[in-house]
Protein backbone atom coordinates (compact mmCIF):
# COMPACT_ATOMS: atom_id res chain seq x y z
CA UNK A 1 0.00 0.00 0.00
CA UNK A 2 1.33 3.43 -0.87
CA UNK A 3 -0.48 6.32 0.72
CA UNK A 4 -1.22 9.33 -1.45
CA UNK A 5 -1.27 12.96 -0.35
CA UNK A 6 -5.02 13.12 0.26
CA UNK A 7 -5.04 9.98 2.36
CA UNK A 8 -2.05 11.19 4.38
CA UNK A 9 -4.15 14.24 5.31
CA UNK A 10 -7.16 12.09 6.08
CA UNK A 11 -5.21 9.69 8.31
CA UNK A 12 -3.65 12.62 10.20
CA UNK A 13 -7.03 14.23 10.82
CA UNK A 14 -8.50 10.96 12.08
CA UNK A 15 -5.54 10.37 14.37
CA UNK A 16 -5.57 13.81 16.02
CA UNK A 17 -9.26 13.54 16.74
CA UNK A 18 -9.27 9.97 18.03
CA UNK A 19 -6.32 8.40 19.79
CA UNK A 20 -4.73 11.62 21.00
CA UNK A 21 -7.75 13.87 21.35
CA UNK A 22 -7.70 14.04 25.16
CA UNK A 23 -3.95 14.24 25.54
CA UNK A 24 -3.11 17.18 27.82
CA UNK A 25 0.42 17.28 26.41
CA UNK A 26 -0.91 18.17 23.01
CA UNK A 27 -3.73 20.52 23.88
CA UNK A 28 -2.24 22.77 21.23
CA UNK A 29 -3.16 20.18 18.58
CA UNK A 30 -6.76 19.70 19.68
CA UNK A 31 -8.26 22.18 17.27
CA UNK A 32 -5.93 21.57 14.38
CA UNK A 33 -6.60 20.17 10.94
CA UNK A 34 -4.12 18.62 8.55
CA UNK A 35 -2.63 20.85 5.86
CA UNK A 36 -0.87 19.90 2.66
CA UNK A 37 1.64 17.07 3.17
CA UNK A 38 5.26 17.21 2.06
CA UNK A 39 6.88 14.05 0.73
CA UNK A 40 10.05 12.98 2.54
CA UNK A 41 12.28 10.64 0.56
CA UNK A 42 15.19 8.50 1.66
CA UNK A 43 18.69 9.41 0.48
CA UNK A 44 18.26 7.02 -2.44
CA UNK A 45 15.44 9.35 -3.52
CA UNK A 46 12.68 6.80 -2.92
CA UNK A 47 9.43 8.00 -1.26
CA UNK A 48 9.57 7.20 2.45
CA UNK A 49 6.86 9.10 4.37
CA UNK A 50 4.76 12.23 4.47
CA UNK A 51 5.21 15.07 6.89
CA UNK A 52 1.86 16.71 7.42
CA UNK A 53 1.51 20.19 8.95
CA UNK A 54 -1.20 20.48 11.60
CA UNK A 55 -2.83 23.85 11.26
CA UNK A 56 -4.76 25.86 13.78
CA UNK A 57 -6.44 28.35 11.49
CA UNK A 58 -3.41 29.38 9.40
CA UNK A 59 -0.71 28.71 11.99
CA UNK A 60 1.40 25.52 11.95
CA UNK A 61 0.90 24.14 15.46
CA UNK A 62 2.36 20.69 14.98
CA UNK A 63 3.12 17.88 12.59
CA UNK A 64 2.44 14.24 11.82
CA UNK A 65 4.86 11.90 10.11
CA UNK A 66 2.75 9.42 8.18
CA UNK A 67 4.34 6.29 6.76
CA UNK A 68 3.29 5.03 3.36
CA UNK A 69 1.39 2.15 4.99
CA UNK A 70 -0.88 4.69 6.71
CA UNK A 71 0.71 4.43 10.13
CA UNK A 72 1.40 7.65 12.04
CA UNK A 73 4.99 7.32 13.23
CA UNK A 74 5.16 10.68 15.02
CA UNK A 75 2.63 13.19 16.18
CA UNK A 76 4.04 16.26 17.81
CA UNK A 77 5.08 19.86 17.84
CA UNK A 78 8.25 21.82 17.31
CA UNK A 79 9.88 23.95 19.96
CA UNK A 80 9.57 26.81 17.54
CA UNK A 81 6.31 26.37 15.67
CA UNK A 82 4.97 29.77 14.90
CA UNK A 83 5.10 29.49 11.14
CA UNK A 84 2.14 30.28 8.95
CA UNK A 85 0.62 27.90 6.44
CA UNK A 86 2.58 29.61 3.71
CA UNK A 87 5.83 29.31 5.64
CA UNK A 88 6.41 25.60 5.24
CA UNK A 89 10.03 26.14 6.25
CA UNK A 90 8.80 25.43 9.78
CA UNK A 91 8.52 21.84 8.60
CA UNK A 92 11.56 21.72 6.37
CA UNK A 93 13.88 23.91 8.46
CA UNK A 94 14.62 26.16 5.51
CA UNK A 95 12.94 26.61 2.14
CA UNK A 96 14.13 24.84 -0.97
CA UNK A 97 15.61 27.87 -2.74
CA UNK A 98 17.59 28.95 0.33
CA UNK A 99 18.86 25.37 0.74
CA UNK A 100 19.99 25.42 -2.90
CA UNK A 101 21.75 28.73 -2.35
CA UNK A 102 23.61 27.46 0.75
CA UNK A 103 24.63 24.24 -0.98
CA UNK A 104 25.75 26.27 -3.98
CA UNK A 105 28.49 27.89 -1.92
CA UNK A 106 30.26 24.51 -1.88
CA UNK A 107 29.96 23.79 -5.58
CA UNK A 108 32.80 24.46 -8.01
CA UNK A 109 31.14 26.37 -10.81
CA UNK A 110 31.71 25.01 -14.28
CA UNK A 111 33.22 21.77 -12.94
CA UNK A 112 30.43 20.39 -10.81
CA UNK A 113 26.69 20.34 -11.40
CA UNK A 114 24.01 20.21 -8.75
CA UNK A 115 20.53 18.69 -8.65
CA UNK A 116 17.44 20.49 -7.38
CA UNK A 117 17.10 20.04 -3.58
CA UNK A 118 15.13 16.99 -2.46
CA UNK A 119 13.66 16.81 1.04
CA UNK A 120 14.99 13.60 2.60
CA UNK A 121 15.56 11.91 5.93
CA UNK A 122 19.27 11.34 6.34
CA UNK A 123 19.15 8.17 8.42
CA UNK A 124 16.21 7.58 10.75
CA UNK A 125 12.69 8.91 10.38
CA UNK A 126 12.65 12.51 11.52
CA UNK A 127 16.24 13.43 10.79
CA UNK A 128 15.26 15.55 7.86
CA UNK A 129 17.35 17.73 5.60
CA UNK A 130 17.52 19.01 2.02
CA UNK A 131 19.74 16.90 -0.22
CA UNK A 132 21.59 18.43 -3.15
CA UNK A 133 23.40 15.87 -5.27
CA UNK A 134 26.57 17.13 -6.90
CA UNK A 135 27.77 15.47 -10.10
CA UNK A 136 31.07 15.66 -11.90
CA UNK A 137 31.67 14.16 -15.33
CA UNK A 138 28.07 12.94 -15.37
CA UNK A 139 28.45 10.85 -12.21
CA UNK A 140 27.12 11.63 -8.70
CA UNK A 141 30.10 12.75 -6.67
CA UNK A 142 28.98 14.33 -3.41
CA UNK A 143 25.83 14.68 -1.32
CA UNK A 144 25.38 18.07 0.29
CA UNK A 145 22.81 18.23 3.08
CA UNK A 146 21.25 21.43 4.33
CA UNK A 147 19.36 21.48 7.58
CA UNK A 148 18.40 24.89 8.87
CA UNK A 149 21.52 26.97 8.38
CA UNK A 150 23.79 23.94 8.73
CA UNK A 151 25.48 22.41 5.69
CA UNK A 152 27.32 19.12 5.74
CA UNK A 153 28.34 16.65 3.10
CA UNK A 154 29.71 13.22 2.30
CA UNK A 155 30.51 11.16 -0.77
CA UNK A 156 27.41 10.33 -2.84
CA UNK A 157 25.89 6.93 -2.14
CA UNK A 158 27.36 6.62 1.33
CA UNK A 159 24.85 6.19 4.18
CA UNK A 160 25.55 7.09 7.79
CA UNK A 161 26.93 4.26 9.83
CA UNK A 162 27.87 3.44 13.36
CA UNK A 163 27.96 6.84 14.96
CA UNK A 164 25.26 9.02 16.47
CA UNK A 165 24.68 12.48 15.09
Amino acid sequence: MSLDEENAKKVSNEHIHSLHKDDPLFEVLRNTTAGNPIMVKNVMKQPSYWIVPLLEEKRIAGFARVLLNGKIAHLGSYLQSSGSEQNMAVLTGIDSSKAYELAGERIRKGVEFSSEPIFVHDGPIGREAWLVEVSMGGKPNRWIFVSGQSVYERPAGKTQEGIMK
Binding site: D23, Y78, P124, R127, I163
Partner: protein
Protein backbone atom coordinates in the same frame (compact mmCIF):
# COMPACT_ATOMS: atom_id res chain seq x y z
CA UNK B 1 0.78 -19.16 55.05
CA UNK B 2 0.12 -20.57 51.62
CA UNK B 3 2.00 -21.57 48.49
CA UNK B 4 1.48 -19.25 45.56
CA UNK B 5 2.70 -19.08 42.01
CA UNK B 6 3.85 -15.46 42.06
CA UNK B 7 5.37 -15.25 38.57
CA UNK B 8 4.77 -18.36 36.51
CA UNK B 9 6.52 -20.80 37.01
CA UNK B 10 8.07 -19.35 40.17
CA UNK B 11 6.69 -20.55 43.47
CA UNK B 12 6.62 -18.58 46.68
CA UNK B 13 5.23 -18.69 50.19
CA UNK B 14 2.70 -16.01 50.99
CA UNK B 15 2.63 -15.00 54.67
CA UNK B 16 -0.40 -13.12 55.94
CA UNK B 17 0.32 -10.57 58.69
CA UNK B 18 -1.64 -8.20 60.89
CA UNK B 19 0.24 -4.93 61.04
CA UNK B 20 0.22 -2.53 64.01
CA UNK B 21 -2.90 -0.79 62.64
CA UNK B 22 -4.79 -4.06 62.49
CA UNK B 23 -4.72 -4.14 58.71
CA UNK B 24 -4.13 -7.42 56.94
CA UNK B 25 -1.01 -7.51 54.78
CA UNK B 26 0.80 -10.25 53.00
CA UNK B 27 4.38 -10.87 51.98
CA UNK B 28 5.67 -13.31 49.41
CA UNK B 29 9.02 -15.10 49.75
CA UNK B 30 10.57 -17.10 46.95
CA UNK B 31 10.76 -20.76 48.03
CA UNK B 32 14.19 -21.31 46.53
CA UNK B 33 16.03 -18.23 47.71
CA UNK B 34 13.70 -17.15 50.57
CA UNK B 35 14.12 -13.63 49.20
CA UNK B 36 11.24 -11.19 49.69
CA UNK B 37 9.42 -10.40 46.45
CA UNK B 38 9.15 -6.64 46.48
CA UNK B 39 8.15 -5.74 42.94
CA UNK B 40 4.67 -6.14 41.54
CA UNK B 41 2.89 -6.05 38.22
CA UNK B 42 3.26 -7.55 34.75
CA UNK B 43 4.83 -4.32 33.56
CA UNK B 44 7.91 -4.83 35.76
CA UNK B 45 11.03 -6.16 34.12
CA UNK B 46 10.95 -9.95 33.83
CA UNK B 47 12.46 -11.68 36.82
CA UNK B 48 11.78 -11.13 40.45
CA UNK B 49 8.33 -9.55 40.38
CA UNK B 50 4.94 -10.86 41.41
CA UNK B 51 2.16 -10.71 38.88
CA UNK B 52 -1.00 -12.52 37.95
CA UNK B 53 -2.22 -13.27 34.47
CA UNK B 54 -5.80 -13.12 35.76
CA UNK B 55 -5.26 -9.68 37.26
CA UNK B 56 -4.22 -8.54 33.82
CA UNK B 57 -7.35 -9.69 32.06
CA UNK B 58 -10.12 -9.89 34.60
CA UNK B 59 -11.85 -6.92 36.10
CA UNK B 60 -13.81 -6.93 39.34
CA UNK B 61 -16.72 -9.42 39.34
CA UNK B 62 -19.29 -6.77 40.26
CA UNK B 63 -18.25 -4.66 37.27
CA UNK B 64 -18.52 -7.64 34.96
CA UNK B 65 -22.03 -8.42 36.26
CA UNK B 66 -23.03 -4.77 35.82
CA UNK B 67 -21.75 -4.80 32.26
CA UNK B 68 -23.52 -8.07 31.51
CA UNK B 69 -26.81 -6.61 32.82
CA UNK B 70 -26.30 -3.43 30.80
CA UNK B 71 -25.67 -5.43 27.62
CA UNK B 72 -28.82 -7.48 28.28
CA UNK B 73 -30.79 -4.29 28.73
CA UNK B 74 -29.41 -2.87 25.50
CA UNK B 75 -30.21 -6.05 23.64
CA UNK B 76 -33.82 -5.87 24.84
CA UNK B 77 -34.12 -2.29 23.60
CA UNK B 78 -32.61 -3.15 20.23
CA UNK B 79 -34.80 -6.26 19.93
CA UNK B 80 -37.85 -4.08 20.69
CA UNK B 81 -36.96 -1.87 17.72
CA UNK B 82 -35.98 -4.69 15.36
CA UNK B 83 -37.82 -7.87 16.35
CA UNK B 84 -36.04 -9.92 13.69
CA UNK B 85 -32.68 -9.02 15.16
CA UNK B 86 -31.63 -12.57 15.92
CA UNK B 87 -33.47 -14.08 13.00
CA UNK B 88 -32.10 -14.85 9.56
CA UNK B 89 -31.97 -12.41 6.65
CA UNK B 90 -31.36 -9.14 8.44
CA UNK B 91 -30.75 -6.49 5.81
CA UNK B 92 -28.03 -3.85 5.61
CA UNK B 93 -30.39 -0.97 6.45
CA UNK B 94 -31.43 -2.70 9.64
CA UNK B 95 -27.81 -3.40 10.46
CA UNK B 96 -27.03 0.32 10.23
CA UNK B 97 -29.94 1.06 12.53
CA UNK B 98 -28.41 -1.21 15.14
CA UNK B 99 -25.15 0.75 14.93
CA UNK B 100 -27.03 4.02 15.44
CA UNK B 101 -28.86 2.62 18.42
CA UNK B 102 -25.63 1.50 20.03
CA UNK B 103 -24.15 4.95 19.64
CA UNK B 104 -27.22 6.46 21.29
CA UNK B 105 -26.95 4.02 24.16
CA UNK B 106 -23.39 5.24 24.85
CA UNK B 107 -22.14 1.74 25.39
CA UNK B 108 -18.67 3.09 26.17
CA UNK B 109 -19.90 5.02 29.22
CA UNK B 110 -20.26 1.85 31.20
CA UNK B 111 -16.74 0.61 30.54
CA UNK B 112 -14.59 1.78 33.42
CA UNK B 113 -11.22 0.99 31.84
CA UNK B 114 -9.72 4.18 30.36
CA UNK B 115 -9.25 4.07 26.62
CA UNK B 116 -5.68 5.33 26.95
CA UNK B 117 -3.16 5.18 29.81
CA UNK B 118 -0.01 7.27 29.97
CA UNK B 119 2.75 8.44 32.25
CA UNK B 120 5.34 11.19 32.00
CA UNK B 121 8.41 11.54 34.22
CA UNK B 122 7.45 13.77 37.14
CA UNK B 123 9.42 16.18 39.28
CA UNK B 124 8.74 13.96 42.30
CA UNK B 125 6.35 11.22 43.31
CA UNK B 126 4.58 13.07 46.09
CA UNK B 127 1.44 15.24 46.29
CA UNK B 128 0.39 17.08 43.17
CA UNK B 129 3.54 17.32 41.15
CA UNK B 130 4.30 18.26 37.55
CA UNK B 131 5.92 16.88 34.43
CA UNK B 132 9.68 17.30 34.56
CA UNK B 133 11.41 17.67 31.23
CA UNK B 134 12.78 20.31 28.96
CA UNK B 135 13.41 19.93 25.24
CA UNK B 136 16.80 21.10 23.98
CA UNK B 137 17.84 21.25 20.37
CA UNK B 138 21.25 19.86 19.50
CA UNK B 139 23.71 22.73 19.27
CA UNK B 140 25.36 21.39 16.09
CA UNK B 141 24.34 18.86 13.47
CA UNK B 142 26.42 16.13 15.18
CA UNK B 143 25.48 16.79 18.83
CA UNK B 144 22.43 14.52 19.21
CA UNK B 145 24.05 12.42 21.94
CA UNK B 146 25.29 15.56 23.72
CA UNK B 147 21.85 17.17 23.68
CA UNK B 148 20.16 13.94 24.77
CA UNK B 149 22.70 13.50 27.57
CA UNK B 150 22.22 17.12 28.60
CA UNK B 151 18.43 16.70 28.89
CA UNK B 152 18.83 13.58 31.05
CA UNK B 153 21.60 15.06 33.20
CA UNK B 154 19.48 18.19 33.74
CA UNK B 155 16.77 15.96 35.17
CA UNK B 156 19.30 14.74 37.75
CA UNK B 157 20.45 18.35 38.36
CA UNK B 158 23.86 18.03 36.71
CA UNK B 159 24.08 21.11 34.56
CA UNK B 160 26.52 21.14 31.63
CA UNK B 161 26.70 22.81 28.26
CA UNK B 162 26.57 20.61 25.19
CA UNK B 163 30.20 21.45 24.47
CA UNK B 164 31.13 20.10 27.92
CA UNK B 165 29.04 17.00 27.19
CA UNK B 166 30.83 16.62 23.84
CA UNK B 167 34.25 16.66 25.51
CA UNK B 168 33.18 14.09 28.10
CA UNK B 169 31.60 11.87 25.44
CA UNK B 170 34.50 12.14 23.03
CA UNK B 171 32.26 13.57 20.32
CA UNK B 172 34.12 14.13 17.08
CA UNK B 173 33.33 15.93 13.84
CA UNK B 174 31.11 13.03 12.76
CA UNK B 175 29.23 12.43 16.01
CA UNK B 176 29.44 10.30 19.14
CA UNK B 177 30.00 6.60 19.66
CA UNK B 178 27.66 4.78 22.05
CA UNK B 179 30.58 3.90 24.33
CA UNK B 180 31.47 7.59 24.50
CA UNK B 181 27.95 8.52 25.47
CA UNK B 182 27.91 5.89 28.24
CA UNK B 183 31.28 7.04 29.62
CA UNK B 184 30.31 10.70 29.39
CA UNK B 185 27.05 10.29 31.27
CA UNK B 186 28.89 8.60 34.12
CA UNK B 187 31.86 10.96 34.30
CA UNK B 188 29.70 14.10 34.13
CA UNK B 189 27.74 12.86 37.13
CA UNK B 190 31.02 12.30 39.04
CA UNK B 191 30.16 8.61 38.67
CA UNK B 192 27.10 8.99 40.85
CA UNK B 193 24.94 7.87 37.94
CA UNK B 194 25.46 4.67 36.06
CA UNK B 195 24.62 4.36 32.38
CA UNK B 196 23.60 0.93 31.13
CA UNK B 197 23.19 -0.07 27.50
CA UNK B 198 20.27 -2.29 26.55
CA UNK B 199 20.77 -3.88 23.14
CA UNK B 200 17.30 -5.41 22.94
CA UNK B 201 15.05 -2.46 23.56
CA UNK B 202 11.38 -3.20 24.23
CA UNK B 203 8.50 -0.87 24.95
CA UNK B 204 7.86 -2.56 28.32
CA UNK B 205 11.41 -1.83 29.41
CA UNK B 206 10.98 1.83 28.59
CA UNK B 207 7.71 1.82 30.50
CA UNK B 208 9.40 0.30 33.55
CA UNK B 209 12.01 3.07 33.56
CA UNK B 210 9.39 5.79 33.25
CA UNK B 211 7.29 4.13 35.97
CA UNK B 212 10.37 4.33 38.20
CA UNK B 213 10.44 8.05 37.29
CA UNK B 214 13.66 7.85 35.29
CA UNK B 215 14.12 9.25 31.78
CA UNK B 216 16.16 7.21 29.32
CA UNK B 217 18.00 7.66 26.05
CA UNK B 218 16.32 6.06 23.05
CA UNK B 219 18.73 5.30 20.23
CA UNK B 220 17.63 4.71 16.66
CA UNK B 221 20.06 4.18 13.80
CA UNK B 222 22.63 6.99 13.97
CA UNK B 223 20.56 9.18 16.25
CA UNK B 224 19.85 9.68 19.96
CA UNK B 225 16.80 11.18 21.63
CA UNK B 226 15.50 11.42 25.19
CA UNK B 227 12.41 9.51 26.29
CA UNK B 228 10.33 10.93 29.12
CA UNK B 229 7.02 9.07 28.92
CA UNK B 230 4.84 6.29 27.62
CA UNK B 231 1.27 5.94 26.40
CA UNK B 232 -0.78 2.84 25.71
CA UNK B 233 -4.13 2.00 24.15
CA UNK B 234 -6.10 -0.16 26.63
CA UNK B 235 -9.15 -1.02 24.55
CA UNK B 236 -8.65 -2.53 21.12
CA UNK B 237 -10.01 -5.20 18.86
CA UNK B 238 -9.04 -8.71 19.94
CA UNK B 239 -7.29 -9.52 16.68
CA UNK B 240 -5.30 -6.25 16.60
CA UNK B 241 -2.25 -5.02 18.46
CA UNK B 242 -2.77 -2.21 20.97
CA UNK B 243 -1.06 1.01 19.98
CA UNK B 244 1.88 1.99 22.21
CA UNK B 245 3.87 5.17 22.12
CA UNK B 246 6.93 6.75 23.67
CA UNK B 247 7.12 10.44 24.54
CA UNK B 248 10.23 11.57 22.69
CA UNK B 249 12.21 14.76 23.09
CA UNK B 250 14.15 14.85 19.85
CA UNK B 251 17.05 17.32 19.63
CA UNK B 252 16.64 17.42 15.82
CA UNK B 253 16.20 19.81 14.02
CA UNK B 254 19.44 21.25 15.35
CA UNK B 255 19.76 24.91 16.27
CA UNK B 256 22.69 26.96 17.54
CA UNK B 257 20.20 28.34 20.07
CA UNK B 258 19.30 25.13 21.89
CA UNK B 259 16.05 26.68 23.11
CA UNK B 260 14.80 27.19 19.55
CA UNK B 261 14.99 23.82 17.86
CA UNK B 262 14.14 20.18 18.38
CA UNK B 263 10.74 18.52 18.36
CA UNK B 264 8.57 16.74 20.89
CA UNK B 265 6.26 13.96 19.79
CA UNK B 266 4.52 10.72 20.56
CA UNK B 267 6.31 8.00 18.66
CA UNK B 268 4.40 4.90 17.61
CA UNK B 269 6.54 2.06 18.93
CA UNK B 270 5.74 -0.23 16.02
CA UNK B 271 6.61 2.34 13.33
CA UNK B 272 10.25 2.93 14.20
CA UNK B 273 13.27 0.65 14.53
CA UNK B 274 14.54 1.10 18.11
CA UNK B 275 18.08 -0.17 18.37
CA UNK B 276 19.19 0.58 21.93
CA UNK B 277 18.15 2.16 25.19
CA UNK B 278 20.54 3.74 27.63
CA UNK B 279 19.25 3.63 31.19
CA UNK B 280 20.62 6.26 33.53
CA UNK B 281 20.18 5.44 37.20
CA UNK B 282 21.57 6.43 40.57
CA UNK B 283 24.49 4.16 41.36
CA UNK B 284 23.55 1.68 44.06
CA UNK B 285 27.07 1.75 45.44
CA UNK B 286 28.98 4.89 46.44
CA UNK B 287 30.04 7.35 43.74
CA UNK B 288 33.60 7.31 42.35
Amino acid sequence: MEFVCYSYPKIGVRVHLDDSKGELRSLIFDVASTRLVDRFGADELPGFASWSFYDEIIEEASKRVARWDAIDEELDIVRGKIPRLLGPGINSGERESIGDLYIKLSIYDIISVPFISSKIVQYCQHCSTHNCNSLHAQHTDVYCACATGQMILDFYRYYYSQDECAIAMGTGPFGTYISGMLDGLESLSKNCLEAELDGSATWSEAKSEIDANRPLASLIPNHARACFGWKRQNIYLVSSTPARWLYILDPWPWNADICSGGAVYWEDWSAVNHTYFIYVRHRSTSCA
